[in-house]
Symmetry: C2
């Protein structure tokens, strides 16, 4: 398995602007170079999908065409729900552009469990377990997603065996990431988690209001405010007392 090498070469997409509100009408992310599957290049979002997949597998022209013709890409408006607690779905998503969040309702309060941004998979546990979801899924920004049901996937996995491999490799990668961030969450304090967020997902700070970041970090907005104050005071220790 050469996934480690693969991951090293996967450069993140470069944002065109800070915050998606500031430059309206423009795509938020640059369109990446991608290997040339003929049918595919017309649509920049399909192109983006193949750019991502090319890091993990070499699809034949036929497979690429088949995948493109499945026509899996959909746009969801800001505020639109993909899933509500209590429902069950067999649908998974993959974010090509935009921002989706998952949260659960605890005593009437939204507790955000994840933000899904460009190149993130959204695989609700209920697609596997069949149990009613305890999570809500909604779009914080108008988002362009790859949409795939289990049934559809199943069908095409049989037709194109190399998809099976692709799915397994991606599952493994995402599993490792999930484990790693779980471990981080467990071992870091709220302050360290915030600093980790600043370091590793700085884009989120621009795209998400602070009270939602707080919820994601597992604390109250007031606490995040105090943490930020603490940090800024520590960084500027001088120029006090006269």
């Amino acid at each position: 398995m050469i996934l480690s090498r693969v991951l090293e070469t996967l450069e993140p997409l470069v944002p065109l602007s800070v915050g998606n509100k500031s430059v309206k009408g423009q795509p938020f992310w640059t369109i990446p170079k991608t290997p040339c599957y003929s049918i595919v290049m017309a649509n920049p979002m399909i192109s983006r999908l193949f750019h991502f997949l090319s890091r993990f597998i070499d699809l034949t022209e036929e497979e690429a065409r088949a995948l493109a013709e499945l026509d899996l890409i959909r746009e969801y408006k800001k505020g639109e729900y993909l899933l509500r607690a209590g429902e069950t779905t067999s649908t998974s998503y993959f974010v090509l552009q935009g921002l989706v969040r998952s949260y659960s309702l605890i005593d009437g309060e939204e507790r955000i469990t994840q933000f899904y941004q460009e190149y993130d998979p959204i695989a609700p546990p209920c697609t596997i377990t069949g149990e009613p979801s305890d999570q809500y899924l909604d779009c914080l920004e108008t988002s362009i997603l790859v949409v795939s049901t289990e049934e559809q996937a199943e069908e095409n996995l049989e037709k194109y065996p190399s998809f099976e491999r692709l799915c397994r490799v991606l599952s493994d990668k995402w599993m490792a990431e999930e484990r790693t961030s779980f471990n981080k969450y467990k071992t870091l304090t709220p302050e360290q988690r915030y600093l980790d967020l600043v370091e590793h997902r700085p884009g989120l700070l621009q795209r998400v209001p602070q009270y939602q970041l707080a919820s994601f970090l597992g604390i109250k907005p007031e606490s995040l405010s105090r943490i930020r104050k603490r940090i800024s005071q520590r960084k500027t220790p001088g120029r006090s007392a006269m």
Copy 2:
């Protein structure tokens, strides 16, 4: 995908005794009934592996033989390390019997991130990312594990395409479980997490000292002690005063 049905029918193994110290020399878990692959039945541990796998896939006699002949099952002594922080490995495990824990060292203190028991997979993120592990892996009990390197897996996935499907299905199942427990950890208080543990993994309370449970729950032993006191006082509110 019929994994939801599959999961419903997967009954947990029944422990023979409470705590592995009490009944020495006896197997801790009953040996399950399993479909009859001829080569396999000799060894109860291989039998157990196939019992588990049969819930997810029907292997041909040839595939079953191939899998058995890979000779992947090993015993590790109590206290033995499978992985240390700083190292990288391509080896994953699957617990047939025993108890393994992962932890990281924070300021010289062991912070337990997971207990792996019967039927749990152990897939260190470094097998995928290639980065040095931040986690230690060691056996809390003498354990019997399926041992599999990426290279070996890779080789056999090519030879036996249905293994590819098996791996993907298992990855998906484990991914869903990982997500679910992450969400739980985020949304529950330490006290609720303890109660959840009592309800869903009661065996652990017998097999693991309290200070390690506390670490796993993300709190100090003293706090767990207080939490338990709080709970027991709540359950026995009467018979006080005079």
